[in-house]
């Protein structure tokens, strides 16, 4: 009987030690300690022993039960703690994941730009990419034979229809169709007959226009300062430099402190410490007259920026042509 008890105890402890889940443990508990369990049955057989052996056997059997109880408790604890570190899954396996597509860097830069202006209450408008001479030039105070037309090399469809050389025709179309006050941004493609390391014949611009009763040059500075600080960072300096666009007066180029060298002078900024990022100005009265607004009643400002340029500065892209090659080795970096 004592040998049988010892054998049962060892069997129970071995099985408990090997148990891998809670279900097995509960099965083992009933197999050994349940009403019909093996240890319980042995204890019940105490009566069959000679009287002098009974107390000792009873004590041994109870001890065995306690040992098994303890082993079960321990095993439960062990299972709750989870498997040992060296017995778990291969944690170094790369993750299982769906393929992630990327938005084109031009789209991403465009979104950064538009986000600032839409939060300022600018409406997003799109107008045609193929335009008449009137919308692309003449209404913007660029009469035929004006030397300023040399500033932009134009793709012609016929004498009167062109690929828009800038997104500025949107100003005319929007003002023709709406009364002031208004504030809009117009993202889109523009085309110039130019192709080299720093020019692609197609590129993206965002045009902006704000017109109201008393909009001043100081307001233009305010809005564009907000824009630069939100897109490039609050600590980036900017300057407004007098320039010329036929459809604004005064006109200003906006330069920001070089984001590469922090204004120290480097190859990207041509050692000047400044980078030109957009053109702007107060809407020329002739433009208002061309859309039927009274320049004595309204004033406004307009601006336009190259989106590729902004993407290049934000992400350190050094070759404009990469934007239109659709090389996945490029696109998947953003």
């Amino acid at each position: 009987m004592f040998a049988k008890l010892q054998e049962t105890l060892e069997d129970a402890l071995a099985q408990v030690a090997e148990a891998a889940d809670a279900e097995t443990l509960s099965r083992l508990r009933s197999r050994f300690l349940g009403r019909k369990g093996r240890l319980t049955s042995l204890l019940r057989q105490t009566g069959q022993l000679p009287a002098d052996q009974r107390p000792a056997f009873g004590q041994a059997a109870n001890q065995a039960k306690q040992q098994v109880e303890a082993a079960l408790a321990q095993a439960k604890e062990r299972l709750a703690a989870g498997p040992a570190a060296d017995q778990g899954p291969d944690v170094t396996l790369p993750g299982i994941r769906p393929r992630r597509g990327r938005l084109h860097p031009v789209t991403q830069a465009m979104r950064l730009v538009l986000d600032v202006f839409t939060r300022l209450g600018f409406d997003v408008v799109q107008t045609p990419e193929v335009e008449t001479d009137w919308y692309c030039f003449e209404a913007l105070n660029l009469p035929p034979d004006h030397p300023a037309r040399d500033m932009q090399d134009t793709f012609y469809i016929n004498d009167n229809v062109v690929l828009r050389t800038h997104t500025s025709p949107a100003q005319i179309r929007v003002m023709e169709a709406n009364q002031p006050p208004l504030r809009i941004v117009c993202p889109g493609k523009a085309f110039r007959r130019d192709s080299d390391v720093t020019h692609t014949p197609m590129f993206h611009q965002v045009e902006g226009l704000m017109v109201g009763a008393d909009i001043a040059f100081a307001d233009l500075k305010g809005i564009l300062t907000t824009f630069v600080h939100q897109v490039f960072g609050d600590d980036v300096p900017l300057r407004f430099r007098p320039s010329f666009f036929p459809f604004t007066e005064p006109s200003a180029e906006v330069d920001i402190g070089c984001v590469v060298c922090r204004g120290q002078g480097c190859r990207v900024c041509g050692q000047t410490g400044w980078l030109e990022i957009l053109g702007s100005g107060m809407v020329d009265p002739n433009v208002f007259i061309n859309v039927g607004y009274d320049p004595d009643e309204v004033t406004g400002f307009a601006f336009g920026m190259g989106v590729e340029r902004i993407a290049m500065l934000l992400w350190g892209i050094d070759d404009l042509r990469l934007f239109f090659q659709n090389d996945l080795r490029f696109l998947r970096q953003f």
């Binding site: 299982i96 769906p98 393929r99 597509g101 990327r102 938005l103 084109h104 031009v106 789209t107 209450g121 409406d123 997003v124 799109q126 045609p128 990419e129 193929v130 008449t132 034979d145 004006h146 030397p147 300023a148 040399d150 500033m151 793709f155 469809i157 016929n158 009167n160 229809v161 690929l163 006050p181 504030r183 493609k189 007959r193 014949p201 197609m202 109201g212 008393d214 001043a216 040059f217 100081a218 307001d219 500075k221 305010g222 809005i223 407004f240 430099r241 007098p242 010329f244 007066e249 005064p250 200003a252 041509g270 020329d284 009265p285 659709n326 090389d327 996945l328 080795r329 696109l331 998947r332």
Partner: protein, 804 residues
């Protein structure tokens, strides 16, 4: 515009370094694009006087020249023919770097050591002359550095002049801005020549027959000139402005062009028949040979300068071969005229001939400066070419400049700029610019009369700009505009494009952007029928290349080219999409239609090779899934996919689906026809999905309709059946719904299997049926009869075998 700094300093004593000046000009509206450093190798070149010339002991053509170069006499070897005693010339000492990059050292020439060399004007970089060593004025002190002695221009500003600032295309014009920006006075160069002999009007005459094109013609006559090289300081300044010195008379006209911005022309007076100048339009087709030797055929818009018999110059653009200054010229007639900007621009454009003169006339020159420029040219010809200036000037001025009277309001200018300026503060920068400004009656208004050199100033807004740029844009405050706080209407199409991009990227497609241009052969590559609307391309008149000579009517060619490029880079699994416009010409409309499209292509594996996914190549079902994911993501429901009536020819027949919703065609998808992809050198299957975003936009944006959540659980029952491979799964699914009770809520295909133990031409389809009642819990017993009846119908209808 190139601005040599010493020259500029003669007009205004600005007291600024090159960098400070560049910064001031840039912030004042004349953008300095760079500062060019010149003559940097000349610090070891000094003035030297020849003391002795001896023959070289070992060479006939060389001599040994001893010079006084400040300290003790030095002897150098020289091969120049003009080395002579007392000649003052330039000695380049070891260490000097001459124009063309020659580094001067100590050399042994035919056995004689020469420490340095005597240099020609070309070697000094001050002219093209290499006929001998430089001949310098005898007044120069030996030993003086040559740059200092000759006043050579060592720093040149490169200014990008905007088209509105024709006035800044001269040293004088830039100096005016410098004077205004720094508050320093402006000094004009002397211009009155000494006069002798017969007055000009007894010898020459000018007649203007086209006063609308020639508003002014001033002429002076200089006799007895000696043609020769210009002094080196003048050559150097011309070279600094990128002009080639030619001879003293021509150089003087170019010098004044740069200095005063007035294009001049010098005629050989003896070659002007009748001593007359007649300004007239060309006759249509009239021929004229310009001094570059080209015979040009003119339109009647071109303006000609003629003598009494023949044309002698193409007005404002280029002189004629028949009257140009030659080495034997002795009498010079100087033309200083004002030509109409538009007339010159049209002629210059038509002939494709742009010159320094035409460039300035196009941008309007200073009409009131014509006579002064003629005087100054005559004066310089007297000084530098020994000319005798005939008294008087012929000045025909049919259309004098009429200054505008611009009435301005201080308050308006302040409000326009967002500044607080009083009237004096507003007027001050204008006065500094040389404008005539008079205060008005009240303390607000004032009147500006711009001089002829600023014809761009016409309106009060032009005056605002001048105030702003001289006052400084930096001084205008930065403020937030005050505007009505109105939410703009929702830009629905912009939002739609944004969501389309997000949904495509979310399912693993990368975004492409192709040029809107296309090759005219693309429509052939797409196998389009002759009358296919996609053949209605918009063509460019002046494309950069044939590859970019039309506008795209489809996104597919660009995307296929992108697939090929990436496969070429060994990026094997390509999924690209593009959102953009295509262009369809409309015969009855001026502008083409610009439909908005989404196109997507996939090739290779659906999931790039990985440790968990099988190597599943992309298929029609992937393209369809992409369409479902996209359209459902946009809130479109009841999508219908069906083989289209006419498969577009760029899809493979039988592998194409059209998708519609609510009876509206939204797009198509399918396998690209092998011939089409072959035309773009793509060697493996490509699937293409095209969506009409204008149509999608009409349907999307409908808000979802909430349905209460089911309160009772449903029951799912699965079945699998083996059918012939040719049986379309879609038909089986559709048939499973025939006469369905309203408790049947879903039938989904959960498995398609081919292979053992099925026969070769068989496949197994696994369908899962879901039943639910909204009012109570269904039991399996209740739904089994319907389920079994459906299974039996399907088996019978499709000849299937139920699988365990």
């Amino acid at each position: 515009m190139l601005v040599p700094l010493k020259w500029l300093g003669e007009f205004v004593d600005h007291g600024l370094s090159a960098d400070e000046l560049a910064a001031a000009l840039t912030m004042g509206g004349l953008e300095v694009e760079g500062v060019i450093e010149r003559h940097q190798g000349l610090d070891q070149v000094v003035v030297a006087r020849v003391l002795k010339v001896e023959p070289h002991p070992n060479a006939d053509r060389l001599s040994l020249v001893t010079v006084d170069a400040g300290d003790q006499p030095q002897t150098v070897v020289c091969g120049a023919p003009n080395a002579r005693v007392d000649l003052v010339t330039a000695l380049a000492l070891p260490g000097a770097v001459l124009a063309g990059g020659l580094e001067v050292g100590q050399a042994k020439i035919r056995g004689v050591v020469s420490r340095g060399m005597l240099a020609s004007p070309r070697e000094l970089g001050v002219s093209d002359d290499h006929s001998g060593i430089a001949e310098l004025p005898a007044s120069l002190t030996p030993g003086t550095p040559i740059v200092e002695a000759l006043g050579l221009e060592t720093q040149v500003l490169e200014i990008g002049v905007t088209p509105n600032r024709g006035d800044a295309l001269s040293l004088l014009g830039v100096a005016r801005d410098v004077a205004a920006l720094t508050g320093r006075p402006l000094t004009l160069p002397p211009d009155q020549p000494p006069e002798t002999g017969e007055p000009i009007d007894t010898q020459a005459a000018v007649e203007i027959k086209a006063p609308e094109a020639c508003g002014r013609y001033a002429a002076r006559l200089v006799r007895s000139v000696t043609i020769g090289p210009s002094p080196l300081w003048m050559c150097d300044r011309l070279m600094a402005c990128d002009l080639r010195p030619i001879n003293n008379v021509v150089d003087i006209t170019n010098y004044i062009l740069m200095e005063l911005g007035q294009p001049l022309h010098a005629f050989d007076f003896n070659r002007l028949a009748g001593g007359r100048i007649v300004v007239r339009h060309a006759t249509p087709g009239e021929k004229f040979t310009t001094l570059d030797g080209t015979e040009r055929q003119l339109s009647d818009q071109a303006l000609l300068i003629c003598d009494s018999q023949k044309p002698v110059a193409l007005a404002g653009v280029m002189g004629g071969l028949n009257s140009e200054i030659a080495d034997d010229t002795t009498e010079v007639l100087i033309e200083s005229a004002f030509f109409d900007p538009l007339s010159i621009r049209r002629t210059s454009k038509r002939l494709g001939l742009s010159t320094e003169s035409s460039y300035r006339f196009e941008r309007t020159i200073d009409q009131d400066g014509c006579a002064r420029a003629a005087h100054r040219a005559a004066r310089l010809m007297a000084e530098l070419a020994g000319g005798q200036v005939a008294p008087g000037v012929i000045d025909v001025h049919p259309r004098p400049f009429k200054p505008a009277n611009i009435t301005c309001s201080t308050r308006r200018i302040s409000r326009y700029l967002g500044l607080e300026l009083d009237r004096d503060q507003t007027m001050e920068p204008l006065v500094r610019l040389g404008l005539t400004v008079s205060p008005g009656q009240d303390d607000d208004s004032f009147t500006v009369r711009p001089p002829a050199f600023r014809p761009d100033l016409e309106r009060p807004v032009d005056i605002s700009e001048e105030v702003a740029r001289i006052y400084g844009f930096d001084h205008i405050p930065v403020r937030s505009p005050v505007a009505e706080l109105a939410a703009p209407p929702r830009a629905a199409d912009q939002r739609l494009r944004g969501r389309v991009r997000d949904l495509m990227a979310a399912q693993g497609f990368d975004e492409a952007i192709n040029y809107s241009f296309a090759h005219p052969a693309d429509v052939d590559h797409l196998r389009l029928a002759p009358d296919d609307p996609l053949r209605r391309v918009v063509s460019l008149l002046n494309p950069l290349s044939v590859e970019q000579s039309v506008l795209r009517t489809s996104l597919l060619p660009g995307l296929l080219a992108a697939v090929r490029r990436n496969l070429g880079h060994r990026v094997p699994d390509v999924a690209l999409f593009e959102v953009g416009r295509v262009f369809w010409s409309r015969p009855d409309e001026q502008l083409p239609r610009e439909p908005m499209r989404m196109g997507a292509v996939t090739a290779g594996l659906a999931q790039p090779a990985s440790w968990w996914a099988g190597e599943q190549p992309v298929s029609l079902a992937h393209a369809r899934g992409a369409a479902e994911f996209l359209l459902e993501g946009l809130g479109l429901d009841s999508l219908q996919f069906a083989a289209p009536q006419d498969t577009p020819p760029y899809f493979q027949a039988g592998a194409c689906l059209a998708v519609e919703s609510s009876g509206r065609a939204l797009g198509r998808l399918g396998e690209v026809h092998p011939r089409v992809r072959a035309a773009y050198d793509v060697d493996r299957p490509v699937f293409y999905l095209e969506m009409d975003l204008d149509a999608v936009g009409q349907l999307s944006g409908r808000p979802p309709v909430f349905k209460p959540l089911p309160r009772f659980p449903g029951i799912t029952l699965d079945m699998a059946m083996a059918v012939d491979q040719a049986v379309p799964a879609g038909q089986v699914i559709a048939a499973a719904w025939d006469d369905a009770p309203d408790t049947l809520r879903d039938v989904s295909l959960f498995d398609v299997y081919q292979g053992k133990p099925l026969a070769k031409d068989q496949k197994s389809l696994g369908l899962r049926f879901t039943y639910r009642d909204d009012q109570r819990t269904l039991t399996e017993q209740e739904v089994l009869p319907d389920f079994e009846a459906r299974v039996a119908t399907l088996l019978k209808r499709f000849g299937g075998q139920r699988r365990a």
